[in-house]
């Protein structure tokens, strides 16, 4: 720690945008020091200004943005004194950047190798041939399988994880002093994310690069960085080493954020998440005192008078809270324990039973489908059976493309299943929603993923909620009006929002309206397809709490689909693990999250980014990406990527279902006892407190 070389030194930087309303300071008085070989994790929710900050550091701001004050030094070079042309020489050679969406960050019309080679030519003065060789070398460096061939491919031929490797390879080609990564794994699956994070960590040590790693994901930061900064509404709230920030944090915002993340060893019955009330202030409407004061539960008069400066509370630990001394004493309480959260082990009545659901798509569309029938079939869902009980949540997990969304859409009838039986409260359902009578529609509703698309932009929020009341519950005009008010209250939205159009609402508010709309029909079963994944951590927490409350008060069952395993663990009573259109493990949440588990579940769990630097997860990593559903591997579908493959049997035979206890089932060739033995105590150091139902 003594001989750290300072690479990036940002002093008192303020970034301003010229807008119609006048100048807006979106990032204010930020200081950053990043040292060689260290990863500085910058955490912030959307609207915190983290991307602006990154672009300001490299002086790549849009035409209406500029640095109002501050100094940026890169290993002694004052970047502020450089011209545009000189900055271009720095970009790509001394500072590289990797952005969020790898599939759009690579030019679709140029070969992969050439896109790496051009950097070598420009900055290292390589010849065409030398540059090509270097490109293949770099692809090799990021463990790209068959680098020679990949160099000749185009972006659309590679998976997201491979593209992100390409971007990292490109960024490191010139061995830059500083690497800025802006949410580099956000667009990827957890399993791929884990692999990429390992890669970044290894390479940074090898290259001794200084890294500014920007993300909204606390778990990722905990896993990868040495230093952490917490950005809120354009200002740094807290900064320190990973242990300082995660274990001994001294700012209510940091505490709030950590309290919002569900844990993998507890669930809704044990604790309710501690959401941060309110919203992040906009730069044109900042509070006068501490910018977090309006949302802070420790706020006192003095906080609202003057903005507290960032002070060093301990060695190397900075906080912008006036009351940090008190925080030290309070200690780290992050979640509310729930009273009376005991679980009764009785199974409720059966609400929905789906048997042998299959959904096959043909790749051809339109008229050509007539003569191409039978060719190139995509087996999105291939023989899945599940049962849902009253007041109970079934979580479905799996990588993207595994068929979890298609399954849900088949159940609710938005896609017509190819075969299988769907029974709701004992009644067999037609496949298509168009053929289902209103009495059935009423019983099943859905909350969708994307809040922006889920409300009609032309209809006021209230009318979206009113329509199902009119259509499915035959209420009079007066009753509808009252009911809408009641529903808005139930989802904690003020009454005046009834008249608002969707674009006047935030993402979280839109999703609340969508939940109100789904509950308007008073359904017995709600399908939640990634309802919180596009929202910020603090908003996620309050929505999860809302879903739990509504389930308790209204007794609905949830089918909860998410790639966020911690959220699934928190909300679900049961969990089903899906891969390539099939179920591989099903059981109570407590069972699925402790050994024995299916090797695929094991890999998923070991990939969860956990916002606690003390939790040491085992590193079980999956090779490659999910195979195409058009070309499903023989035998056990998971054998091509399985880290615990035992031999030819996996390639040749379908694995059998194995039962453990009454309800826990695993589909694997490895006997359950053996799984239990190899998996030992489990991946998560602390095992679940809750009892295992059996």
């Amino acid at each position: 720690m003594n001989e750290r070389t300072l690479v990036l030194d940002v002093e008192d930087m303020t970034v301003t945008y010229r807008t119609e309303k006048g100048p807006l300071d979106t990032v204010r008085n930020v200081n950053l020091k990043i040292y060689a070989g260290e990863i500085y994790g910058l955490v912030g929710e959307s609207g915190s200004g983290k991307t602006t900050l990154a672009h300001a550091v490299v002086r790549y701001l849009p035409a209406n943005g500029f640095l109002r004050s501050g100094k940026i030094c890169l290993s002694g070079t004052d970047l502020m004194s450089l011209s545009k042309m000189e900055m271009r020489e720095i970009w790509g050679s001394r500072i590289s950047m990797v952005h969020q969406d790898p599939s759009s960050s690579i030019n679709p019309a140029i070969q992969i190798g050439e896109q790496i080679a051009e950097v070598a030519r420009i900055h290292l003065g390589f010849s065409r041939k030398e540059a090509r060789v270097r490109a293949v070398e770099m692809l090799n460096k990021v463990h790209m399988p068959d680098p020679e061939a990949v160099a000749k491919r185009y972006a659309h031929q590679l998976s997201g994880g491979m593209l992100q490797r390409v971007l990292i390879a490109t960024a490191l080609t010139t061995n830059p002093e500083l690497l800025i990564m802006d949410e580099p794994t956000t667009a990827l699956d957890v399993t791929t994310e884990a692999v990429i994070l390992d890669l970044i960590k290894d390479l940074m040590e090898e290259y001794n690069t200084a890294v500014l790693y920007i993300t909204h994901n606390l778990g990722v930061v905990a896993r990868i960085s040495n230093q952490v900064g917490v950005l809120y509404a354009g200002e740094i709230m807290e900064e320190g080493s990973i242990t300082q920030v995660f274990k001994n944090n001294l700012h209510p915002y940091t505490r709030g954020l950590l309290g919002c993340v569900p844990r993998v060893d507890t669930n809704k019955r044990d604790i309710s998440l501690k959401a941060i009330p309110g919203y992040i202030p906009r730069p044109d409407n900042l509070p006068r005192g501490c910018i977090f004061a309006p949302r802070c539960d420790l706020v006192e008069e003095a906080c609202t008078v003057e903005r507290p400066p960032l002070v060093e509370a301990e060695e190397g630990h900075l906080t912008a809270c006036r009351r940090f001394e008190e925080l030290k004493k309070i200690g780290n309480v992050v979640a509310d324990t729930r009273a009376g959260g005991s679980k009764d082990d009785k199974l409720g009545d059966l609400v929905l039973e789906a048997r042998n659901i299959k959904k096959y798509f043909t790749a051809a569309a339109g008229l050509s489908a007539l003569w191409q029938r039978g060719r190139s079939v995509i087996k999105a869902v291939d023989d899945i059976s599940i049962r849902m009980r009253r007041s109970f949540t079934m979580g479905i997990v799996g990588e993207s493309g595994c068929g979890k969304t298609t399954l849900a859409r088949c159940l609710i009838g938005l896609e017509e299943a190819t075969s299988g039986e769907i029974e709701l409260e004992g009644e067999l359902l037609p496949y298509s929603v168009a053929k289902r009578p209103p009495e059935i529609l009423k019983k099943m509703q859905m909350v969708f993923q994307n809040p922006d698309a889920s409300l009609n932009p032309q209809h006021p929020a209230g009318s979206s909620v009113a329509r199902p009341l009119i259509l499915l519950r035959n209420l009079s005009r007066k009753e509808v009006g009252d009911k809408v008010k009641e529903l808005f209250q139930a989802v904690n939205l003020p009454e005046e929002f009834i008249e608002r159009l969707p674009h006047e609402l935030s993402g979280g508010e839109k999703q609340r309206v969508a939940i109100a709309r789904a509950f308007a029909a008073d359904p017995a079963l709600m399908i939640c397809d990634e309802p919180i994944s596009s929202l910020d951590v603090s908003v996620q927490a309050s929505l999860m709490n809302l879903l739990v409350d509504l389930q308790e008060s209204r007794g609905a069952s949830y089918l909860f689909i998410s790639h966020d395993l911690a959220a699934v663990r928190h909300l679900s009573d049961w969990i089903a693990v899906v891969y390539l259109g099939r179920l591989w493990e099903i059981g109570s949440a407590e069972d699925v999250f402790v050994p024995p588990y299916h090797p695929y579940t094991e890999a998923l769990l070991s990939a969860i980014p956990i916002p606690d630097p003390d939790v040491k997860q085992e590193t079980i990593r999956l090779r490659g990406s999910v195979p195409s559903a058009m070309d499903i591997p023989s035998g056990c579908r998971f054998h091509t990527r399985c880290p615990r493959k035992i031999g030819a049997i996996c390639e040749q035979q379908e694995p059998p279902w194995q039962q453990r206890g009454n309800y826990h089932q695993i589909r694997c060739h490895i006997p359950i006892e053996e799984l239990l033995e190899i998996q030992g105590e489990g991946l998560l150091k602390k095992s679940a407190g809750g009892g295992v139902i059996s």
């Binding site: 991307t51 849009p62 906009r282 339109g366 994307n450 889920s454 932009p457 032309q458 259509l471 674009h503």
Partner: protein
């Protein structure tokens, strides 16, 4: 920056509900303002012009033929001694009426076809769209000429032909927007509560198509003026003695060397109107679809 992007996207989604920002944007684009001014000017003339015209547009005065512009005849007289000023004014009604009705017809039927085709999908969509492609694969002016040649030129026939020819383009644009919208989750939510196709098409989808339709209509209007004027010029459109601008230019070609004004004023009127509609259309696109959808 993230917020800014969001604001723009959202404004693009519901431009009619919030007209204020639209007008603010209008002021940012002076060309658009000019365009609207020109178009409204012509509409004004078309409505009130005929009562202000100093002469009857058919009133012949052979001794005064081919007079240059003067105080008595502001734009001069033509080969029959008719007042060009009066004819240009009365002609504006013709152009706007014929091109406007043709556009309205194309937009109406194109919208219906596009809505149904896009929403229903499947073979129906395929057949309709292939038919549209066939119509699109014949140059519009040629097709118009051949059809008018057989139907016989008349004002009504010109309207029908213009309307027919531009249906496919409108249908295509509407269809592509419908294809995007119908997979949106608010449409799926409507299906989940048992809304009928009619409600979904006209209450859920249609309002969101309006901005695209408005931009498309303004472009089609420009193309219609083009087509109507060209047909008039070739003698296949509206017939004499009607003061159709295209027709006037066509007839004036004979007298071009003796009396340039006979040609200049109707041609100038067309040019001015077309420029106005062009500016307006471009501006509408900027205001209503600020995200910049590339449907040219």
């Amino acid at each position: 920056m993230e917020d800014g992007k969001n604001m723009i996207r959202q404004a693009g989604v519901s431009p009619f509900s919030k007209l204020q920002p639209v007008f603010r944007r209008l002021l940012r684009y002076p060309m658009t303002l000019i365009g609207f001014a020109i178009v409204f000017f012509f509409i004004f003339i078309a409505v009130f012009g005929p009562t202000m015209a100093p002469y009857q547009y058919t009133e012949q005065n052979l001794p005064n033929k081919l007079q240059p512009p003067s105080e008595e005849y502001v734009f001069g007289t033509d080969q029959f001694g008719r007042d060009i000023f009066s004819r240009v004014i009365v002609g504006s009604r013709d152009v706007l009426m014929v091109a406007g009705s043709g556009t309205a017809m194309a937009v109406f039927f194109g919208m219906l076809l596009g809505l149904i085709s896009g929403y229903r999908g499947g073979w129906f969509d395929e057949v309709i769209m292939r038919l549209m492609d066939v119509i699109l694969s014949i140059p519009p002016l040629l097709l118009a000429m051949v059809i008018l040649f057989s139907l016989g030129p008349s004002r009504l026939n010109v309207i029908i032909v213009v309307g027919f020819l531009y249906i496919p383009m409108v249908a295509r644009v509407v269809r592509s927007v419908v294809l995007d919208l119908k997979t949106r989750q608010f449409v799926e939510a409507a299906r989940l509560r048992g809304e009928g196709s009619f409600y979904i098409l006209f209450r859920e989808i249609l309002p969101n198509i309006m901005p695209h339709l408005a931009v498309e209509a303004s472009m089609r209007f420009s193309y219609s003026i083009f087509l109507v004027a060209s047909l008039g010029f070739l003698g296949l459109g509206v017939q004499p003695p009607s003061p159709d601008w295209g027709l006037m230019v066509g007839e004036a070609r004979t007298w071009f060397y003796q009396a340039r004004w006979v040609l200049f004023f109707p041609a100038g009127a067309i040019a001015l109107l077309v420029v106005g509609v062009g500016f307006m259309s471009d501006g509408l696109r900027r205001m209503l679809l600020p995200g910049g959808v590339s449907n040219e």
